[in-house]
Symmetry: D2
Subunit: 278 residues, 4 copies
């Protein structure tokens, strides 16, 4: 279906929904779905409206801005497939799931390229006719390595970066180039395990549940706003290797689900959380 | 928090949100949360608004009706604890969970009485200072038995009836007295098992998951609109008795969660489904 | 790791574990894991032993048979990758997941070929260098169509058939050729929906949970012994199409998990259930 | 059913199952279920056997010890209801769930008493005819307060202590009095949140899942061997208070499930994990 999405957020005040829908009504827009949410701790208003109809974009936006308080952030997102670049290291489970969905038109986004610090996944990627860029990190500073990646990204100009098991820490400078536009997936545990070999730790502790968390990347590594989470049950009879396999299974599903929310403009990032209209 | 809930539904048409929020804005209402949903198959519009502020109820409603198409159903629900009557047979797990939540102020509703066709749960109920009515069904027609129950219900005039493991089939005449106001809980399986001893069937088939479904009761027994569902994993090593215990655990949590949605006016019933604003 | 699996089942009687482990001890076998289970309703004994060590297979088995009651079924399964043939129709999600796992050595089995009544998945399959046999069913009797498939299967001689969304009903004659050796995956609901368009029915009923069941195929279609099940939550805001996507996500994970149990000899089929040693 | 449970663990070596079952066979014991597990990292053997039949306990145990390596730990557990004492603070959800199950004979254990540092739950407890001991902690050293509790516990001599939301940290000296005999329940998150107000942190981070973990208490607070875990989904629309309610719901079910495993001798504690025979 061909529709546009309007995303508005600002400090809450009376009449916001009325003022917004008044403008939409004047423009004869057909609202397909409308969601609002006021985050109580910050008293901040969020509204997502999906609508169809033809309208003059510039006039519509200027009328909206005039009707809303000056701090309001208004984003009009015309419905089209978003461009993604995907960063990987050596693990295949997330990238192969994304490539398959992409090949069958289920991703609702364009995978412009895959970039990796290793060549391991080149053969897989080429099966799906997606460009693969191997940017080795050996003997390079972190900054120099990222510079090469950014150079490639500049060429594709993606809207979002997906870290599909990219196992290198990004510098703050890199992250700032894609604010709230980098999606990462990582395993999660109850309780959390810090440090190396988390599945060995999970095995040693006898956890009963393995989880996965998809989140936006900000400067707090692995602590950005959560987009989606899920879990899978395990048992003490499972080896650390079997637990890792369970972890991979849940990671790929959670990453795909989070991308659906992202590319359909179904969320806002607010402070360190997401407001999701699902 | 002291707030009111406005529930509106009608066939969809352009401008509904605008027209509704315009009236609310004129009355200086402070909208706390607002949800809309258009069910696409039926092109039907639903809106739930929670708001605070003082207003003239009659004027507000008449202005709303004037602004909306004549088919619109408008329900204004002033925030207060709802009255419930609970029907049980012999199983204690759901009723004891509800009585405990009620005793500690977590149910956000008043349990006016418990009615049962057996006396087994009288001792438990009396611990919590809730009236218990034992209405034996032996040697009575179904209609005569229900008549006695309805007589008791008339006294309490509850807004909702909760079937907390009430193991008798209600007549259509009874159900029509409480349209979409009777909540039932029952076990669910993947796949479903018809007939007697479902847990024995589940054991014999080796199911891996036991579920529970809370739903409104309509004339299709166990097939009314679903309010909430959840599951719990089981294994072939579990006896049918252990599976039944797992089923009881998930039933009581699902029933409590569905009552929260019901007493907080968080749902609409539309055809055979619920539209939930959670 | 290189190990063998011994699977024994028979009516229960005292001393079975002792008698079996006595033989194993005499042969200096190193038991890696041992599981027993007595199904109480049928009083039937099951034992699965994984062990390493070198031994004379014929002597070992004859000693075991001598020690056990005559009805005992003893299966010695030397550790090797099992051969699978996969049947599909048009949906790609399960077959692509299996092909990817296979390509990366995660399936612990050999996919010998993919057989389909359509050509849709040929391009995908060929990316992974697996033979694809298109056996159209148009203008053929069910028996004639199956005959062609059986002819292909005879060539590959697989140990197990996997129905990875094969949407045709198999005849009893076909099923009897692969008793408890055909694995199927299908969506599951709480409650179950019979007939066509199950996701539309699920949408119309407002289900909150979509499940998947992997099972062995016997002559009761979709009612054979369950191997694995899982679920994924959904909401009324999801379209039937989104529910179907959620269903596909859970189906592929459940099918892969069930294949792991099958190819590692981790289960017995007993009457209409499975006894699983996980 | 009247049966005994034999729990044996020792470093793994060939023939252990054979030697154990040989002794059982000589004593004409009827094995109801038998589970073994070898933990591979430590090469440690665990066996749990449930059996019926009459036997001379002393002879049986001395024959077992003679057949097994000297390091073997053998525990024979005659089937009887275990005695529990429960420690609480102010939250009612876990203790009320346990009291109800106890009252209806579902706990398979005796609740000898409830001990609390507050009087809040006395009224509830007395409804169920269980002694309540209020041991205020104000103006006492931690050691003096624990001394009073231990004095009460000495009177009841429980096999297990259950911390059903007991919100005080126990001293190592106290814990050593009940090694692997204290069960605790606490909320869990993906990721974990340290410090005060975890539900506020969970709300601020927008977590999608709330979990609960039941574990044995050792000297690493909240980091002892995990017995059971489960989760419940939440959304950004839920307030921190609603998330806390979800947390309470999952906590009480997980605690009850873990107690079932404990009182039925279904687990071993090994290093920092549990080996569970469920």
């Amino acid at each position: 279906m061909n529709f546009s999405v309007l995303l508005i957020h600002c400090p809450d005040q009376p009449g916001l929904v009325f003022k917004i829908t008044q403008v939409a009504y004047r423009h004869n827009l057909n609202i397909i779905s409308n969601g609002e949410f006021v985050e109580r701790n910050s008293n901040h208003f969020f509204m997502r409206t999906a609508f169809s109809g033809s309208f003059d974009e510039a006039i519509f936006l200027s009328e909206l801005q005039a009707a809303l308080p000056p701090e309001a952030v208004v984003k009009l997102s015309l419905r089209k497939k978003r461009d993604l670049c995907i960063l990987v290291t050596k693990e295949h489970h997330c990238i192969s799931d994304l490539l398959v969905r992409h090949a069958f038109g289920e991703l609702d986004a364009n995978i412009k390229c895959v970039i990796s610090n290793y060549s391991d996944l080149e053969r897989l990627t080429s099966k799906f006719d997606v460009p693969y860029h191997h940017v080795a990190h050996e003997n390079k500073t972190r900054e120099a390595h990222e510079e090469e990646i950014l150079h490639i990204l500049d060429h594709y100009n993606p809207e979002f970066l997906v870290l599909a098991k990219y196992m290198r820490i990004l510098t703050p400078a890199f992250i700032q180039r894609y604010p709230n536009r980098i999606i990462n997936i990582h395993h999660s545990f109850l309780p959390a395990f810090a440090g190396a070999n988390p599945y060995t730790q999970a095995y040693d502790r006898g956890v009963k549940i393995i989880g996965a968390t998809a989140h936006f990347v900000n400067e707090q590594l692995d602590e950005g706003p959560i987009i989606a989470q899920s879990i899978i049950p395990v048992a003490h009879t499972h080896s650390a290797k079997e637990m890792a396999q369970a972890g991979r299974d849940v990671e790929k599903i959670v990453l795909a689900r989070s991308l659906k929310l992202v590319v359909h403009d179904q969320l806002f990032v607010h402070r360190n959380k997401t407001i999701i209209f699902d």
